[in-house]
């Protein structure tokens, strides 16, 4: 072959040596970098996983707590409103009955002012105390 003639050129050896140096240096450099950044890379894969998950979950968790307290207070308000509504309905019922009785008394055939006054006086003390407190 003509190998001996063309194999010797200086630039070929130089090029090969340069490539070899480049390969070796870059490989070792990368290995060194990886060894140095191992911790960081580790944090990136496994550690970051939990960190990222926590970071994602944390605001959601606080939001849930917030909403829970809010729901609780709303439920309390609802119960209070329902109680108030019940009481008001009772009061209205009582008042309607009272009005009806008075009306009957007023339009009764032998109605006199005195008799009506006596009735109203009596009711003031009596019947509408029977259903708890009235607002």
């Amino acid at each position: 072959m003509t190998a001996q003639a063309s194999g010797s050129p200086y630039w070929v050896q130089l090029l090969i040596s340069a490539l070899g140096l480049f390969g070796g240096a870059s490989g070792l450099g990368v290995l060194a970098t990886v060894a140095m950044q191992r911790r960081k890379l580790k944090a990136d894969t496994a550690g970051a996983l939990t960190d990222a998950a926590l970071a994602l979950v944390q605001p959601l968790r606080s939001r849930v707590t917030e909403l829970e307290t809010e729901a609780l207070s709303v439920r309390e308000q609802l119960t209070a409103s329902q109680r108030e509504l019940r009481e008001l309905r009772t009061t209205v019922w009582d008042l309607t009955r009272t009005l009806q009785r008075w009306r009957e008394a007023i339009f009764a055939p032998g109605a006199t002012v005195r008799r009506i006054q006596a009735l109203v006086m009596e009711e003031d003390r009596g019947p509408h105390r029977q259903r708890g407190h009235v607002q």
């Binding site: 070899g20 990368v30 191992r38 890379l41 580790k42 990136d44 960190d51």
Partner: protein, 148 residues
């Protein structure tokens, strides 16, 4: 550690080359033969490190490919290996072209394909590593089962 099938199917060519490299290096050392081009074109020290480089690079590359620990570490080892593999293949291309010239077209083409592929793969790994480092800042989790 992902299963063997999943890891190799995506990179069959790389796997084949990385398996071939140490086999080739061991054969060269064991049989004490060298291609004429290598013998003629490379200085002695480079020649020796070229031979052992083949073995080291293949083993390191496979190690990186199937690294059981952190994904980042495995990728780093693989990156070092494919960078060196590219250099080793390119060295052989230069040697064989310088010595055999036009007769070495086929060998030079295929081996330079190995070099180009290795360097492309190393660029890809660099991109992956960079992405891996940005993941926590973006608050995204890398999928834990599929890749580590």
């Amino acid at each position: 550690m992902g299963n063997f099938y999943k890891r190799t199917t995506h990179r069959v060519y790389e796997f084949a080359v990385l398996v071939t490299a140490p086999v080739c290096g061991v054969l060269l050392v064991a049989l004490n033969v060298r291609p004429q081009s290598v013998e003629l074109a490379m200085p002695y020290a480079i020649k020796i490190s070229w031979e052992f480089g083949l073995i080291v690079v293949g083993v390191a590359g496979l190690l990186g490919m199937f690294w059981p620990g952190q994904l980042g570490t495995g990728l780093g080892i693989e990156l070092a290996a494919v960078l060196m593999l590219g250099a080793i293949a390119a060295m052989y291309v230069v040697a064989v072209l310088a010595v055999a010239g036009g007769q070495a077209v086929v060998a030079a083409s295929f081996v330079s394909a190995v070099a180009a592929g290795s360097w492309l793969r190393s660029a890809e790994i660099v991109r992956s590593l960079r992405m891996l480092m940005r993941l926590p800042e973006a608050g995204v989790c890398p999928s834990p089962e599929g890749e580590t």
